[in-house]
Symmetry: C2
Subunit: 203 residues, 2 copies
DNA sequence: GGATTCATGTAAGATGTTACATGATTGT
DNA sequence: ACAATCATGTAACATCTTACATGAATCC
């Protein structure tokens, strides 16, 4: 079984739900498009890890509610104990920042500023969800939602720290440019003072 | 062109290098195995984005040094200005944390403690590299290494914050368990006081 | 009237991983 | 002796994305 499969089992452990709902739930866990979810669910049903229940709806398309089976629960339980492999992050911004030397100051600053805006929006949205969790899930039902609660707080902490980095980087970029302009030293020799300046600035 | 291609161009913009070296360089930017790099380089050479230079070596296998072309530079420059798409993070740990309710306290704590160890190791390693960068790249050569310098600091900031979350989560897990044990309330009713306790603890 | 939400599925293509293949040098 | 580093490549497979396909209800 693959990670998507375990993520689905983890989601269904909380409560049974449709493939459509899974797409949303998994966004914070292991993002996947519906075109990946539905075939995966079929495979998992064939393996006996989950069962389908067909629900007819009026005014809406019919849906298939998936529930985790005993076998599914056992499979997940066994996997959870194994140590996880290294995380992988793919972010175009990193490539763009790495290429910063060939773009002008303003363009460089703009991509970072846009990132700050995106992060800020995501944080306010997530803070609403966290508040809702704290309000809605009392202790008796909290247990199954506890992990998700930890994860939402994790994301917020990391995104706030990313904003801190963005601001630090913006200041740094500005500092470098001001130095370049003031001393008229684009690529000229005695710049070693500048680097010390920059390093002082970091500390 | 795909993101891997732009990452390669970004790497080659700094200095020409072999496919083998690219694998290491790209780890912090857009990780890829050599089996993906070599065919990608061939495609990019055919498109005129880079050129190969065959270097014969004694005692070591021969290598092919790739250099970015004017067309490659222009392609990268154009792409850098476009706004990046959303980052994607895939981390098995998240699925395991989400499934925390079905593993025992000790196993749950262990996976988080292991993560802390990994992060701490990565941070000390990266701090060495950062120190080396600050030392080696004086102002005249800094420009092309500037983006990478920003990125290494970014990673360190984020990983330090992840450690903070891990420690917060460990405390939280312990707190929940102590409450469960003390009050003997596994799944029993009047737990609402506990949740308040937990929320107080977060604040 | 047009976009979004709900709801499921398939097909084609792009991207990424694991395994197979070779072979000398250097460090433990 | 054995593992790791340097160095490049292919093949098979797994994973993920984009596009095609349908269709009613609700919101702006």
């Amino acid at each position: 079984m693959n990670n998507l499969g375990y993520a689905i089992l983890s989601a269904l452990g909380r409560k049974p739900c449709s493939g459509y709902e899974l797409v949303q739930y998994l966004e914070a866990l292991w993002p996947a498009k519906h075109s990946q979810i539905y075939p995966q669910l079929t495979k998992m049903e064939q393996k006996g890890l989950l069962v389908f229940e067909h629900i007819e709806q009026t005014g809406k398309p019919d849906k298939k509610i998936c529930s985790i089976t005993e076998k599914g629960k056992e499979t997940l339980e066994k996997w959870v104990m194994e140590s996880p492999s290294d995380p992988i992050m793919r972010d175009e911004l990193l490539i763009k920042v790495n290429s910063i030397w060939l773009s002008d100051q303003e363009s460089a600053k703009k991509i970072i500023q846009d990132r700050i805006s995106n992060l800020e929006q995501q944080i306010v949205d997530r803070e609403d969800i966290i508040a809702e969790m704290e309000c809605k899930h009392r202790f008796d039902t909290m247990s199954k939602h506890f992990g998700r609660y930890l994860l939402f707080n994790r994301r917020n902490m990391l995104e706030k720290e990313e904003i801190s980095w963005c601001k630090w980087a913006l200041n740094f970029i500005e500092k470098v440019n001001i130095n370049k302009l003031l001393l008229g030293m684009i690529g000229v020799g005695k710049g070693s003072i500048l680097v010390e300046d920059m390093i002082l600035f970091i500390i």
